[in-house]
Amino acid sequence: MNYEPVIGMEVHVELNTKSKMFCRCSADYFGKEPNTHVCPVCLGLPGALPVPNKKALEYCMMIGLALGCKISEKSLFERKNYFYPDLPKGYQISQYRWPLCVDGWIEIAGRKIRINRAHQEEDTGKLNHRGNETMIDFNRSGVPLVEIVTEPDFRGVEEVRDYAKKLQQLFRYLGVSNADMEKGDMRLEANVSVRPELVEGLPNYRVELKNINSFRFMVAAIEYEIKRQISELEAGKKLTQETRGWNEQKKETYLQRSKEEAHDYRYFPEPDIPEISLQSSAIRLQQQMPELPWDKLARFQKQYGLTKQQAEILTESRELADFYEETVRDGADIKQAANYIINRKINIEEVLPAQVVISIKGTSMGIISDEESLKKLAKEAIAENPKAVEDFQKGKESVLQALIGTVMRKSSGKADASKVAEILLKYLRNV
């Protein structure tokens, strides 16, 4: 008999807000001295109360909106009660019955994967084991988390891989998280079961793969689990609900908790936080949403006539996409610029778009490098952008690129970009 996997994903993403979810402590905890980013609230001291971080709620809504979710009319926090040493209040403030965002979808490999919810919650502290001792670091306690839950719509590991990559790209596009897997910004859990092909409906069990902190291991664990479950079923065994972890040495999953040991989280409405209505901010956020990666991908193909593969590479990050479009605006040929950036693997941290334009156009175009002409163009560019000067002096160095762009346009892409940069810098610093 042939089997097909049925997989649902739960993704936790840590938001990169300045402060924590329910207090004003800095949420930037990675690599910091333990227990230095703490206060009565995130330590759960007796009497302390949580007050929600509005920015985090906005970030959660942006994720929801990008995934086509509805923003709930009524959103409530709830308490998820369980004991663990890294959970100072004895409960996690989360959302269960009334999540902030519901009923969305994302396209993966040409299919719609339904998003059940994207809800807001808080991270826990961190246990550090040293020999026989366990130390608790509460710097991470209360850092905003968003949990995104799909329906069990995945039918293969490749789709899961695509999904995780797409989410990571989305978070970075939206600027809501660094989504760095190694730092634990983004954590994956999979619910895996298998069913005979052509059978409709969900299997009556599912195996949760949890606490697997690397993307590669997660993929390996799912692959292993699919094989394990099929062979169990073929051997006539019954599979039950359980939680399993991943043993990297043995390259196999292992039982962590069976159904009987499952938690009863005793959810109930968090009485310390009033009901939240965010309909109006949802409308505002919807209008301010940046172009989403998949929309940009489609546009690059349509507007610039790039191949799908080219467009995928160029829209991988928002910064690279902007870089490409800047070169085009500065007069580079659409195709040449795409090929140049892709083939030479241009490092956009080190190279300016204008330099790419020049390299493409080559010397044959007659580069303008005489000081006087360039100075004239630079002065004009500065005169046209008085705000840029002000911004530059306030420390916003990105305006330099904008001014170079102006000069390049004025010279139809013929100005020597590095010299222009030098001249502009001189002017900006001496103004």
Partner: protein, 447 residues
């Protein structure tokens, strides 16, 4: 000055202005009196000898920076908070200091003060009687002149009932009027900090000091209460709920309350019978929400921090944690918690309806006067029933006042005045007018 400690807060402020005595003298007198009487009363768990401000007694469930705060529990036996509750900060800016932390039922769970892990507080009027609870020490300290005023907390009557049983004034403000930041949570939906004081005017003053929006408490969005002269309004409509005068109310207490209502009528109030039809379900709903939230709120005392394991919880605390854990369990949640929440809404609506017909509602605070220490301690249900008239105000979130209105067998009786949400002003006006035409508060226990 001998009777310095019997002055009300407003009198103390006047006297300090007139330089009749200094803050130093004031604190000295109180410390001396505490030293003399506290061994008898057990009202204070900790005394702050270095207080140099207007001395207030603070219930031990309110966090005080660098002053031990135990919630009268062994589990917090050595806990010294690193931060002040918002109310403590607010009082500090008004020149008020903490002279001591007062005894109470463990984690404010109880109606007699006997659930304290540090021994019961005694009623200043009769040392064999309970002072009521859970703000037992705060009420006893005010009644025995061991502080100028006190702060208590009221989750189901814990300010009003001990105030009533000790013959002092107690005010439970509207939920959301006073910040809970720093109040060790019992039932977050009901907990309210309020003053226990020697006069109604003092209640208004302390409420002005401690009320107002606080960014540290998401539920505290109410405006600051502004104290104005408490002038009696003629033709004020006073509702008397028939449900508060039925079975269970001691006939002698009933008589005292009825006399007080007559007095208000003589003052020109219009007395109307009103109905709060869902009152009989209040106790059940209250104890489901109360224990559910307790089971979660006390989870943080998990034996990892604070130095003590969970077997240090007392009987009543354990009982409520278990009841609440059960009520929230999957399969029971809808039957218990969700239903209780619906009853809560009905009780709120009862009051809204009643307040269409009247401006305030009056009735007893407690069905009996103070009872003997030990009398009800082994019968939790009888103990719970002693809160029957006070818990509805917490379910509805409305303000309520307890003022002395007489004695039964030389033990004080309190009159409860309940008001519309955010309308502390009217209940204070009624209380003030009543206080002006009676002498009850001038009666002091002989100690």
């Amino acid at each position: 000055m001998n009777d310095l400690t019997s002055l009300t807060l407003t009198e103390v402020i006047e006297s300090l202005k007139d330089k009749k005595f200094s803050l130093n003298e004031l604190n000295k007198s109180y410390l001396e009196r505490i030293r003399k009487l506290n061994p008898k009363l057990n009202a204070y768990l900790a005394v702050n000898d270095s207080c140099q401000k207007i001395p207030a007694a603070i219930k031990d469930v309110i966090s005080t920076k660098d002053i031990i705060t135990t919630a009268s529990s062994k589990i917090l036996a050595n806990f010294v908070p690193p931060y002040d509750a918002s109310v403590i900060k607010m009082l500090d800016t008004q020149g008020v200091g903490v002279i001591g932390k007062t005894n109470c039922d463990e984690f404010a769970m109880g109606s007699s003060g006997e659930n304290s892990a540090y021994g019961p507080t005694k009623n200043p009027w009769n040392l064999n009687k309970v002072p009521g609870g859970s703000s037992s020490g705060s009420a006893a300290a005010v009644a025995a002149d061991l502080c100028v005023f006190a702060l208590g907390s009221d989750t189901g009557g814990s300010i009003r009932q001990p105030a009533s049983l000790c013959g002092v004034v107690g005010l439970k403000p509207t939920y959301g009027r006073v910040s809970r930041y720093g109040l060790i949570a019992v039932t977050s939906s009901f907990d309210t900090i309020g003053p226990i004081i020697k006069s109604v005017d003092d209640a208004a003053l302390v409420l002005e000091w401690i009320s107002g929006e606080d960014k540290m408490d998401g539920n505290c969005y109410g405006k600051k209460f502004v104290r104005t002269p408490l002038r009696w309004t003629h033709n004020i409509r006073i509702g008397v709920p028939r449900e508060y005068f039925g079975e269970g109310l001691d006939p002698k207490v009933k008589k005292v309350i009825q006399d007080a209502i007559k007095k208000l009528e003589e003052l020109g109030a219009e007395i109307k019978e009103v109905s709060l039809p869902h009152s009989e379900y209040a106790l059940a709903a209250y104890y489901i929400i109360n224990t559910s939230e307790i089971s979660s709120n006390l989870a943080r005392f998990d034996g990892i921090r604070y130095g003590k394991s969970r077997d240090n919880f007392g009987e009543e605390v354990k009982r409520r944690i278990m009841l609440g854990t059960y009520a929230l369990s999957s399969g029971y949640y809808d039957e218990y918690y969700v239903k209780a929440a619906k009853v809560r809404t009905l009780i709120k609506q009862d009051f809204e309806k009643a307040f269409e017909k009247c401006d305030v509602i009056v009735g007893p605070v407690s069905p009996t006067v103070a009872w003997n220490i030990g009398e009800k301690i082994n019968d939790p249900l009888t103990m719970y029933l002693s809160d029957i008239y006070t818990i509805s105000a917490n379910l509805a979130g409305i303000p309520a006042l307890s003022i002395p209105c007489g004695f039964v067998d030389r033990l004080p009786v309190g009159l409860q005045v309940l008001g519309k949400a955010w309308d502390e002003e009217t209940i204070l006006k009624v209380g003030f007018a009543y206080e002006q035409v009676t002498d009850w508060r001038k009666d002091k226990p002989k100690l």
